[in-house]
């Protein structure tokens, strides 16, 4: 008797279609004396390393006792049996069920409806912002600088040769046509995420105090460890004095 077969009734261990995943992983040590469980009294500790003895395993002995013929699986390794199809089908359905069950458990971590609603577009009135002044608003948890640029700042921004920029981008690509004086950028330094200070630095733009990145009056990186320009959020002009961010 093969006492260590994973699936009873498989007379030929590990052959062809009868191989199971357990066959691939474990090789039964044979034969050892079958140890009957449970014994009374104090137990020996669990298998110590290096000594394995056989635990009584799957034995379809009742077949013998009842005088029935031994049940054999398909001896050929070529075509799957009905039994295998059933096992595969059950396994597949169970796997699909497990995946379908896991999905909501993971998806619940995505932003919930209230968070998404709170991130809806906001309108900002530009009239209180004087020339040369800037304000900071929050949208989707991020600080956004809205600068009313002076003529000097606009000129400086437009005249910079693009080749000299670490992240080349024309000023016209960073503002809305006809609204050159308004700069709207996300105030998060592209280096490691600090908030740069406005109207600071050598370029009359932004200066990040954490590691010294300097941005110009168009929010483009000029100097310092930051790799790219301050990103421009999606926004539109609802009217000349009002923008909608988002």
């Amino acid at each position: 008797m093969h006492a260590c077969e994973p699936i009873a009734g498989l007379r030929s261990y590990g052959k062809g279609a009868n191989r199971t995943i357990l066959d691939c992983l474990f090789r039964p040590v044979w034969p050892g004396k079958a140890v009957f469980l449970p014994p009374r009294g104090p137990r020996a500790p669990a298998a110590t390393f290096g000594r394995y003895s056989c635990v009584s395993g799957a034995v379809p002995l009742a077949a013998d006792e009842k005088g029935l013929g031994i049940v054999t699986t398909a001896s050929s390794a070529d075509h799957p049996t009905r039994r295998d199809f059933l096992f595969v089908a059950t396994g597949a359905v169970a796997a699909v069920g497990a995946a379908a069950t896991v999905w909501p458990l993971v998806a619940q971590m995505n932003p919930d409806a209230a968070t998404i609603a709170a991130g809806a577009p906001i309108e900002v009135d530009l009239t209180p912002i004087a020339e040369g002044q800037d304000i900071k608003v929050f949208w989707r948890g991020k600080p956004i600088y809205i600068s009313h640029r002076t003529k000097k700042q606009i000129d400086e921004a437009q005249k910079v040769p693009l080749a000299s920029l670490p992240d080349p981008q024309a000023d016209s690509a960073r503002v809305k046509p006809g609204h050159d004086q308004w700069l709207v950028v996300i105030g998060i330094c592209t280096h490691l995420g600090c908030i740069p200070i406005a109207h600071e630095g050598s370029y009359d733009g932004f200066f990040c105090p954490c590691h010294g990145s300097q941005y110009d009056s168009s929010g483009r990186i000029r100097q310092g460890p930051a790799p790219s320009n301050l990103p421009v959020p999606p926004y539109t002009f609802v009217s000349d004095t009002k923008i909608q961010i988002g």
Binding site: A3, C4, P6, I7, A8, G9, L22, C24, L25, F26, R27, P28, V29, G32, A34, V35, F36, L37, P38, R40, R43, A44, A46, A47, T48, F49, R51, Y52, S53, C54, V55, S56, G57, A58, V59, P60, L61, A62, V71, R83, L86, F87, A89, T90, V93, A94, V96, G97, P104, L105, A107, Q108, M109, N110, D112, A113, A114, A117, A118, A120
Partner: protein
């Protein structure tokens, strides 16, 4: 643990690990090669079911804790936000809440199985005691978990149970103050209950490891009560017990899914949908159904300390069972007297459960006392007596012999008896929830009832109009945001329509740069504004009565359905007690109270309102609201539509719930069928 294992991994990487930490060997010897008696019946699958439920509760609980706020002012709303806004939040909440009930259902069956088959007897005494410890930890965990939503029942249940400790002589009051962290149940209590509720399931998991270890030392008991002697008596755990457990788990999941998707509030209490109010105690305080028998015992004993001792004693006495019953025959299958008294004991427990849900008056008190005496007599008198005087029938020689012998359909009849009895217990728990001072409202046909129920969009829109034009002058709807009007499964407005609807409202916002609050037009993200800034203002404007917020009103009200309706309700999925009540109250005004009834000053007579005296004047009159779609402008129509609308505000995701329920059921039936045939195939050689 269970013995030396017999494998060697072939893969060199696995071999490397195995040499240093033989975990694969452990798993193999404990759950693959482990010899399992071949005559186990399906009552033995509940161990696996319980392990799965513990894992599921921990998993859903940890996830819910990502979104829950354990502060007295925020807890109730945070759970409503989980249900309404978090992706699949309604599903997670239902799984966890119904899961607790399922966990106890399974543990009671598991315990009764142990009682019947003598699984507590030598050499499994410690196994049994560890089980009692797990049970106690489960009760503590369940109690604290129920407090977390901070509803009326949460708060008052916490008050009652923590007050139990005041029965301790001398130190009682100090102990209670220590537990509360204050002068009454309050925010400190909630915070510490949250922390402990998170902790205890992992303690339970640890004790479960000990429990399984103790089990594997002795080996499993079996229906014959005869220990395994030869290898003919056992089969390896995998695949035999594994597949049988899988099938059992799948059947259990079907039962579980019925509650999650179709009857999520059946086992709960409508009062817990009312936010906790320390100034108002609910008319009937009842614990959850799984505590009812012990609640009955507590109330049966008229002395405070003795009642508390009796209640805890009723649980602790289980730990002494191996010594109270030392009959040599293990299984009640072969003990005819013990078997009969066992079933009487089951009836006693169910009876105590039923009584725990009834008001402590009249015959219920007497019955409670009798059953309490019987409960303790079973353990203290009957079992010791039986072990002396009973003549058991001869047990089979071995497990193999037991398998070969024929066994009848006793298991089937036991299941039927259990289902009926369980239904009675649960139904009993239903009845207490209603206030018995009202007349039962008539049942109605609702478009959203039943497994395929859907909200009638037109009805929802008309109901919104009724709310806006009639109810909103006094009643808030603060859990509903304008954006919800555009969500699937709701009134079916577009996002633009919802925005336009929102902009008609003025909403307070601020402070502005001057530090002042200001008003602005509503936006989709805003919630329906309440008519009064706070409760005091609401009471002052309404003769001292507080018009409740209507967001959850259809889930916060119920009425008793009586026997046998509550059993029928379980199968027909009747969950519409709340809507039936609300629509009845709206239409239940009568101009003149019946003869002999005097109403307090400022009240009106209502047929269905508990106590019949309601402070709200008749809100609906014919012709009050005109509908654009030509629906009749009658009170009946208004009541029906606004109730439908309020059912949607109480549960915006109902349609998604029922739709997913259908998919889950189809899937589970398919899986159960496949597992059944797989089990039969695997076991074909073992019988």
């Amino acid at each position: 643990m269970s013995g030396p294992s017999d494998f060697q991994p072939t893969n060199p990487a696995l071999k490397w690990i195995e040499r240093r930490l033989p975990i694969m060997g452990l798993v193999h010897s404990s759950f693959v090669a482990y010899p399992t008696p071949r005559n186990l019946n399906y009552w033995w699958t509940f161990g696996a079911i319980l392990s799965m439920m513990l894992g599921l509760q921990i998993l859903t609980g940890v996830i819910l804790a990502m979104h829950y706020t354990p502060h007295a002012d925020l807890a109730f709303k945070s759970i409503e936000l989980i249900v309404r806004d978090v992706n699949y939040g309604w599903l997670l909440r239902n799984m966890h809440a119904c899961g607790a009930s399922m966990f106890f259902f399974a543990v009671y069956i598991h315990m009764f199985r142990g009682l019947y088959y003598g699984s507590y007897k030598e050499p499994r005494e410690i196994l049994w005691i560890l089980g009692v410890i797990i049970y106690l930890l489960m009760m503590a965990t369940g109690f604290m978990g129920y407090v977390l939503p901070w509803g009326q029942m949460s708060f008052w249940g916490a008050t009652v149970i923590t007050n139990l400790f005041s029965a301790v002589p001398y130190f009682g009051e100090s102990i209670v103050t220590l537990l509360w962290g204050g002068y009454a149940v309050g925010n400190p209590t909630l915070n510490r209950f949250f922390s402990l509720h998170y902790l205890l399931p992992f303690v339970i998991a640890g004790v479960v490891v000990l429990h399984v270890w103790a089990l594997h030392v002795a080996g499993q008991n079996n229906p014959a009560g005869v220990e395994a002697k030869t290898e003919k008596d056992t089969v390896p755990f995998t695949p035999y017990a594994t597949i049988k457990d899988a099938f059992g788990v799948s059947c259990f999941m079907l039962f579980f899914a019925w509650f999650i998707f179709y009857m999520p509030n059946y086992l709960g209490d409508a009062d817990n949908y009312i936010p906790a109010n320390p100034g108002v105690t609910p008319a009937h305080i009842v614990p959850e159904w799984y505590y009812l028998p012990f609640y009955a015992i507590l109330r049966s004993i008229p002395n405070k300390l003795a009642g508390v001792v009796g209640m805890f004693g009723a649980i602790i006495i289980l730990a002494f069972l191996p010594w109270l019953d030392n009959a040599r025959t293990r299984s009640s299958k072969y003990r005819p007297l013990a078997k009969q008294f066992f079933w009487i004991f089951v009836v006693v427990c169910l009876g105590l459960g039923y009584l725990g849900s009834q008001p402590p008056e009249g015959i219920y008190v007497i019955a409670g006392r009798i059953l309490t005496v019987l409960y303790f007599a079973y353990f203290l008198i009957l079992l010791p007596l039986l072990s002396r005087i009973e003549k058991p029938r001869p047990v089979p020689n071995s497990i193999a012999d037991d398998v070969l012998a024929k066994h009848g359909g006793k298991v089937a009849s036991a299941i039927v008896a259990l289902v009926v009895a369980g239904g009675l217990l649960v139904g009993g728990a239903q009845t207490a929830r209603a206030d018995d001072h009202g007349v039962s409202p008539p049942g109605n046909k609702w478009s959203f009832s039943g497994p395929m129920g859907k909200f009638d969009r037109g009805s929802l829109q008309r109901g919104l109009k009724v709310y806006k034009e009639v109810c909103s002058s006094c009643h808030g709807l603060s859990y509903v945001a304008f954006r919800n009007l555009a969500e699937a499964g709701g009134p079916g407005y577009s996002v633009a329509q919802a925005s336009a609807f929102a902009s008609e409202y003025k909403v307070k916002d601020g402070p502005d740069d001057k530090g002042e609050m200001f008003e602005r037009a509503g936006r989709p993200a805003d919630y329906f504004p309440s008519p009064f800034p706070n409760e005091n203002a609401a009471r002052a404007a309404n003769g001292g009565a507080y018009p409740p917020d209507l967001s959850l009103i259809t889930k916060a009200r119920s009425y008793k359905r009586g026997f046998p309706m509550f059993l029928v309700d379980f199968f027909t999925q009747y969950q519409e007690q709340g809507p039936d009540y609300v629509t009845a109250v709206l239409q239940g005004y009568e101009d003149k109270p019946p003869a002999g009834v005097t109403l307090p000053e400022g009240s009106y007579y209502n047929k269905y309102f508990p106590g019949h005296a309601i402070k709200m004047p008749k809100p609906l009159n014919d012709g009050q609201v005109t509908f654009d779609d030509g629906a009749p402008a009658t009170v009946a129509q208004y009541a029906k539509d606004v109730t439908t609308f309020l059912m949607w505000t109480a549960e915006p995701h109902m349609e998604a719930r029922k739709r997913m329920g259908l998919q889950v059921f189809v899937f589970l039936i398919l899986l159960t069928g496949l597992l059944y045939f797989t089990k039969k195939k695997v076991w074909a050689n073992a019988h």
